[in-house]
């Protein structure tokens, strides 16, 4: 894992003092709320329906036991005893007092954490593959690249008042676990002629105008990557729309001028930027990479799966929530934060501490936050899986539903969010409860709920997506089918007229039944949908 040196620490410490100063000026009335807003937003502090919400960055979703424990401490001391893991691989707290925020940041800084650029119209937390460093299919660990980008983007002087927020994802495998092409910039690290570099996709995103990012460059060598990104961002900063907040994301620029013209503009800028020497030397990526060297794995034999048979509950969890590791004898554990009937992504301080303990004891002191709002223990010996599972079960964290219909992504919705049209959380609870008994049979089925068109719940990318809308003052839900955020990326399509809260659950049931009737051997819901199309499902839903 990355370790701060004196420079990183000094920058984060200075940020704490800067924010303390800004909060004091606000509390003293020297700053209006309008002037304070962009400053607090740049530090992840939102004013929500009931209180301030603080979003803490978990860079590329990686953290250690000590950091995880600190997140529990913050939940207990400054919030109501729980935290909410987000689709940006961050954590947010929903009940924060403005006056406490500087102290929280000071505590975070001591554990090499911060809330820098977790909101605002700037480059946000860099997201990455939650299986990085553990997946067998990666070209290299993408996290050193993400850390390089974290540093480059931190307080970038030119890109702090962009037209709109800006999200970058970095992956290094063909399997896309980070919804890379639904980001403003998606980078896929690849190797060409022995040199590592990045394939660059620009202009993806969800929101009210979802777009899949087109490829803008097939390869940028590692030692020119920051120059290229600087050029890509500069073109956006200069030409992105600022007249309409809904058209201000880079996807609209790329769409309006076209990928070819955008590419040409970036190339012109790139040629100029390359002369400035803004890319660090290769030694810097090497310095960072050394800190992500694989942990000292033991040479242990692989444990045959059948050993799980003595405990059927464990066996189900083992099948569902454990993934293959590149190191023989090891496995990747995904801890579900989606208990049936619970709030997706929420964890109590006690649960967070349990996960911290397990990471320290069984996973080389590492955890990951996934964009699907779960937690990963990336490096667990197969021989320890049973012990890990027991500890998780004792803490209410052993739901065996990874990628099943109850592993729902849901935005905060009307329960917290001032922009919401409809509630997301109660609906997620209803759906999980209704379908849990048959979820194993339904297989991989990614269901995602957004409480409004801003799409924080990624409904466009759900195999089944749900969008909350306002229909003459009452909450109404539209149903979408066929989206995917993975390497087979696609955007869901609306089935037809919307439903009330009970109606949407019934509609999903009819969709599920039709899938079961139509599927052929081994087909996931998404595969069946792609094969037979929308019509049979429409008939099932609307009769």
């Amino acid at each position: 894992m990355y370790k701060y040196d004196e420079y990183d620490q000094s920058i984060v410490d200075a940020r704490v003092e800067e924010f303390r100063d800004q909060v004091q000026r606000r509390l003293a009335g020297q700053l209006t709320e309008d002037q304070f807003k962009p400053l607090r937003l740049m530090n992840g502090l939102y004013l929500q329906l009931h209180a301030y919400m603080l979003r803490v960055a978990v860079p590329y979703g990686t953290l250690n036991g000590r950091q995880m424990r600190l997140l529990a401490h913050i939940a207990r001391t400054y919030d109501r005893g729980y935290g909410h893991f987000t689709t940006r691989q961050n954590i947010q707290y929903n009940w924060i007092k403005l006056a406490d925020a500087p102290d929280i940041l000071a505590e975070l800084a001591k554990a090499e954490m911060h809330a820098i650029q977790t909101s605002g119209n700037c480059i946000r937390n860099i997201s990455s593959d939650q299986f990085a460093g553990a997946a067998a299919d990666e070209v290299t660990d993408p996290r050193p690249w993400a850390e390089l980008l974290r540093q480059w983007s931190t307080f970038h002087p030119e890109f702090t008042y962009l037209p709109r927020k800006f999200k970058i994802a970095v992956i290094a495998a063909d399997e896309d676990r980070a919804a890379m092409r639904l980001h403003d910039i998606g980078l896929q690290i690849t190797r060409r002629d022995g040199i590592l570099g990045a394939r660059v996709f620009v202009g993806g995103g969800m929101g009210r105008t979802p777009m899949i990012a087109p490829e803008i460059r097939d390869f940028v060598p590692a030692d020119q990557l920051l120059s290229y990104l600087e050029a890509a961002l500069r073109v956006y900063n200069r030409y992105g729309r600022r007249d309409n907040i809904y058209k201000a994301r880079i996807k609209i620029l790329v769409h309006e001028i076209g990928a070819d013209r955008y590419r040409d503009e970036v190339e012109l800028e790139f040629a100029q930027v390359l002369t400035l020497g803004i890319d660090p030397p290769a030694a810097e990526l090497a310095r960072i990479s050394a800190m992500f060297a694989p942990p000292a794995f033991d040479a242990v034999p692989s444990v045959p799966h059948e050993l799980a048979a003595h405990d059927p509950d464990f066996a189900i969890w083992r099948t569902q929530n454990v993934s293959a590791h590149k190191q023989p004898g090891y496995a990747i554990v995904t801890v579900s934060l989606k208990p049936i009937g619970g709030i997706p992504g929420d964890a109590s301080a006690d649960q967070i501490n349990v996960m911290a303990d397990l990471a320290e004891r069984y996973s080389h002191d590492e955890l990951r936050v996934t964009h699907a709002q779960n937690i990963v223990l990336p490096h667990v010996r197969e021989a320890d899986l049973y012990a890990v599972w027991q500890a998780l079960a004792d803490a209410g964290l052993a739901e065996a539903n990874l990628d099943l219909i109850s592993d729902i992504i849901a935005c905060p919705g009307l329960d917290y969010c001032s922009l919401a049209n409809a509630r997301s959380i109660p609906l997620a609870q209803k759906i999980a409860t209704r379908f849990a008994p048959r979820q194993q049979d339904l297989g991989e089925l990614k269901l995602k709920i957004s409480g409004c068109i801003n799409a924080c719940g990624h409904h466009h990318a759900g195999h089944i997506g749900i969008l909350g809308v306002d229909r003459k003052g009452t909450e109404n839900y539209q149903l979408l089918l066929g989206g995917s955020g993975a390497e087979d990326v696609s955007l869901g399509k609306i089935t037809g007229p919307g439903f009330d809260e009970d109606g949407i659950v019934d509609a999903i049931e009819r969709v599920a039944d039709r899938y079961v009737a139509e599927r052929s051997e081994g087909e996931r819901f998404l595969d069946t949908y792609r094969r037979i199309g929308m019509q049979p499902f429409k008939e099932a839903i609307y009769g």
């Binding site: 040196d5 420079y7 990183d8 000094s10 920058i11 200075a14 003092e17 800067e18 100063d21 800004q22 000026r25 020297q30 002037q35 962009p38 400053l39 119209n121 540093q151 480059w152 931190t154 307080f155 970038h156 002087p157 030119e158 890109f159 702090t160 008042y161 962009l162 037209p163 500069r234 900063n237 200069r238 600022r242 100029q272 930027v273 400035l276 020497g277 803004i278 660090p280 030397p281 030694a283 810097e284 310095r287």
Partner: protein, 149 residues
């Protein structure tokens, strides 16, 4: 930190030379007939590159910030400095105290904010960060260069 004494309303300068008094022309009128003019005002949406043929003779470029949220001027400043412009580069309009530091990094060396800027807050803000991560237009040594010499 340079002398902050300004002699125009709210003007903050980080330069030692005399204030250039010539009224700034709009980009359109300048490009149409440059004459002997040496002061130009760029609106937020103007293309700073249009000034590149003239950077050796320009003494003042004023970049307008209609709203503090409009960040286009930061790129305008970088483009001019990267092309070698050494004259005064002034940020004018809705410029807030917390923005002076990033603007300095982009190459601005003078500021004409609509609202007066609190000097003590500004000093704290400009002295805040001993280290920066990026190479920008202000010559500050980025952290990666300190790390690797």
């Amino acid at each position: 930190m340079a002398d902050l004494a300004g002699d125009t309303d709210n003007l903050l300068r980080f330069r030692d030379d005399e204030v250039h008094d010539e009224p700034a022309m709009t980009l359109d009128s300048f490009v149409a007939d440059p004459g002997n003019a040496s002061a130009v005002r760029l609106e937020a949406g103007d293309d700073a590159r249009a000034l590149l043929p003239f950077i050796d003779r320009l003494m003042l470029v004023e970049v307008s910030f209609p709203s503090f949220r409009d960040g286009r001027g930061y790129s305008s400043a970088r483009i001019l400095r990267e092309a070698g412009y050494t004259g005064e580069l002034r940020a004018a309009g809705d410029v807030l105290v917390d923005q002076v530091s990033p603007m300095r990094r982009c190459g601005f060396d003078s500021f004409a904010p609509e609202q007066p800027i609190d000097q003590s807050v500004l000093r704290r803000s400009l002295d805040r960060y001993d280290d920066v991560y990026q190479k920008a237009a202000d010559g500050r040594v980025p952290v990666w260069q300190r790390r690797h010499g």
